[in-house]
Amino acid sequence: MLDFFTYVFLIAGFLMLAGKVITNNITLLAIQSLALSIIAFYLGLSGGAVNWHMVLIGGLTFAVKVIVLPWILYRLVDKVAARRVVPLSIGLGSSSLIGVLLVGLTYSYVVPVLLKEVQVGGQLLPVALSTVLLGCFFMISRRSALSQLIGVIVMENGLFLCGIAVTGGMPLIIEFGIFFDLLVGALVMGIMTYQIRDTFDTLDTKFLNKLKH
């Protein structure tokens, strides 16, 4: 059960790399977030006593990342993205390949070698770290401002999973802080996307290259 959703989490992240239609990416993001909240719920409820902390995180994730953020993103796409297809800086084939490499790196090197002291069984930790890296790489390989926003959220997802996996959740107030942060950040980035669209008539970051040297 846990492994299944973990894999869903990873595969959603991976599929994002393989696709270039922005709406699909948002859907995948929502699916990934859903997987994350289910994992949180599962961890919170599956033990003997109910871990309210986890449940709360799951709920928040569900509310913010499955409903609010995708909704905002869809709205943004409707408003600003003239084309649904995202320009790439690294081709789909090679980016998938690099994605595999990254996952391989986490599975074969980072977790077993560098993190051998961390006593966390299962797939949670490698999947979480892979997702962080994949999210970052997603941002590198996409040249659209919106995709970069999505990438940030994917990275946050990875971080949350990592937090859950390694520590069973950070202290609550901090989790709240991070959530709030994320929400505000996403909002600000959304507003900026909007402004960029207004000013540059495009979201392609290729045109954001006037400042150099």
Partner: protein
């Protein structure tokens, strides 16, 4: 008192949201800035003079290290906020902004200051992270405030790159948390500096190593370490000048502060060789990497921004080299750079505003256009270049000495050489701007005003740092350094 320090700028920010008109906003701003400055001064001096380390508050703590940062934010932040008044006035006059934006600007400015205070006062790793991420968000709005293409581009790059970087820092915090919980056994205190330091030696070394790498990449991005600095020249050059001054003078220091904290922790857990060496490498890379951009540059504010990268490198190198001399040099440099660079950005901003251009070839004859401001500009440029009688010379010498001792003659020599070559770049452009003739279409001369006092005060402090530090200041530095050499335990 610590809460007052946070609430004063927050309250000011909130007040500025009300539609009161620019006169009132200015008054609120001045009042708030002064109040915040006094509170900051009180809090930090309380630590140094009375030795009263306040660790009773939940989530907030002020010790020697954070007191230094509070002091810097207090001085530089207040100066910048006060300077903003005239800056915005002339922007309003030039039609760059509307009156409605003025209030928003003040509000964001004070919010920005508040988040920085939170970042350095936070006792909790997580809170600190949140605060630093908030500084990014708020200051990104300020960077993009003009809303033109370049500003938006800079703001976008800034927020995206820093957010990605900061995300990696979170991984480091999670790992630290995990390691600390294994030792401390409790969730609530495992993220608190004051509980972490005493047990630092027991933390798992391999975990802490990895954590430090993530932290270094994360906060290093925010601090502008090469090659993670890419957002910095864009953001600094496009932001309104008071914001550039704050970004360069204080915000970078907040990120450096975070790195210092983790470095102290890691050093005790892993031993000196790991994080120290990493910091040395990154410090040198930042210095050397920024150098070519300083030698060949057209935009004055980008020039200053790259110089900030270089100076962050110097500070990080000093921290990495460690020892009494290294820490003394780094801390002094932290202070001096904040003072010098903020004055430099403010005066350069005024110059750029008057010329309606940031391009060095267009800024000819600054000495005739604005005699006083340009002299301040020249003096602070020399200061930043590392010339005596300014403080940066002394702090660089301290770091250099430590470099020769700990890193061998090669390291020390490269360090000194890079600084000297940077100086040549700076003096070249300074000469071009100052020793030239003003085009006829500009008016000449300026009146001495309160702005110049705002610029001269930090400059005087810098000179004092360079030739005569009062005994009290020397004690202050010695206290911070002994705090650091003791590994952050009090």
């Amino acid at each position: 008192m610590l809460y007052l320090l946070l609430l004063a700028p927050l309250f000011t920010a909130v007040c500025c949201l009300f539609p009161l008109g620019s006169r009132w906003w200015e008054r609120i701003n001045v009042l708030g800035a002064l109040l915040t400055g006094i509170a900051a001064l009180y809090c930090s001096l309380n630590v140094f003079l009375v030795g009263n380390i306040d660790r009773t508050q939940a989530f907030l703590v002020i010790d020697q290290l954070s007191a230094v940062l509070v002091l810097i934010i207090g001085i530089v932040g207040t100066t910048c906020c006060l300077y903003t008044v005239s800056y915005l006035r002339s922007d309003l006059k030039n039609g760059e902004l509307t009156e409605r934006q003025v209030g928003r600007f003040f509000g964001l400015l004070h919010l920005f200051v508040a988040t920085m205070y939170l970042a350095v006062l936070a006792d909790n790793l997580g809170v600190m992270w949140v605060a630093i991420e908030f500084t990014t968000i708020v200051s990104a709005l300020l960077v993009g405030f003009y809303g033109n293409k370049a500003a938006l581009e800079a703001a976008w790059k800034y927020i995206i790159i820093c957010t990605v970087g900061i995300a990696f820092a979170m991984l480091g915090i999670i790992l630290t948390f995990y390691a600390a919980r294994g030792v401390l056994g409790s969730d609530e205190i495992s993220l608190s500096w004051r509980f972490l330091y005493p047990v630092a030696a027991k933390l798992d070394p391999s975990l802490m190593k990895l954590a430090f790498i993530f932290i270094l990449v994360g906060y290093g991005t925010k601090a502008g370490l090469f090659p993670l600095h890419t957002w910095l020249p864009d953001a600094h050059s496009q932001a309104p000048s008071p914001v550039s001054a704050l970004l360069s003078g204080v915000l970078l220091n907040c990120a450096i502060y975070a790195i210092i904290r983790f470095h102290l922790l890691t050093t005790m857990a892993v031993g000196y060789n790991f994080s120290g060496r990493l910091l040395i490498i990154f410090g040198l890379m930042s210095m050397a990497g920024a150098l070519p951009f300083i030698l060949v540059q057209k935009d004055i504010k980008r020039l200053l921004a790259y110089s900030s990268v270089e100076h962050v490198g110097i500070i990080i190198l000093g921290i990495g080299l460690g020892g009494v001399l290294g820490y003394t040099g780094a801390i002094l440099h932290l202070i001096n750079h904040a003072l010098g660079k903020s004055v430099l950005f403010l005066s350069a901003g005024t110059l750029a505003q008057t010329y309606h251009s940031k391009l060095i070839p267009r800024m000819q004859g600054i000495g005739q256009l604005l005699p006083i401001t340009s002299k301040v500009f020249m003096a602070s440029l020399l200061a930043i270049g590392g010339a005596p009688p300014f403080g940066l010379f002394i702090s660089e010498l301290n770091v250099a000495t430590r470099g020769f001792q700990a890193g061998g003659p090669g390291l020390g020599f490269v360090f000194l050489m890079v600084i000297a070559v940077v100086f040549t770049g700076l003096i070249y452009f300074a000469g071009k701007m100052y020793f030239s003739d003003l085009p006829a279409r500009f008016p000449r001369g300026e009146q001495f005003s309160v702005n110049h006092i705002l610029l001269l005060l930090p400059l005087c402090l810098l000179i004092s740092q360079g030739i005569y530090m009062p005994g009290a200041v020397q004690d202050l530095i010695a206290k911070v350094v002994s705090f650091m050499t003791a590994g952050g335990v009090y």
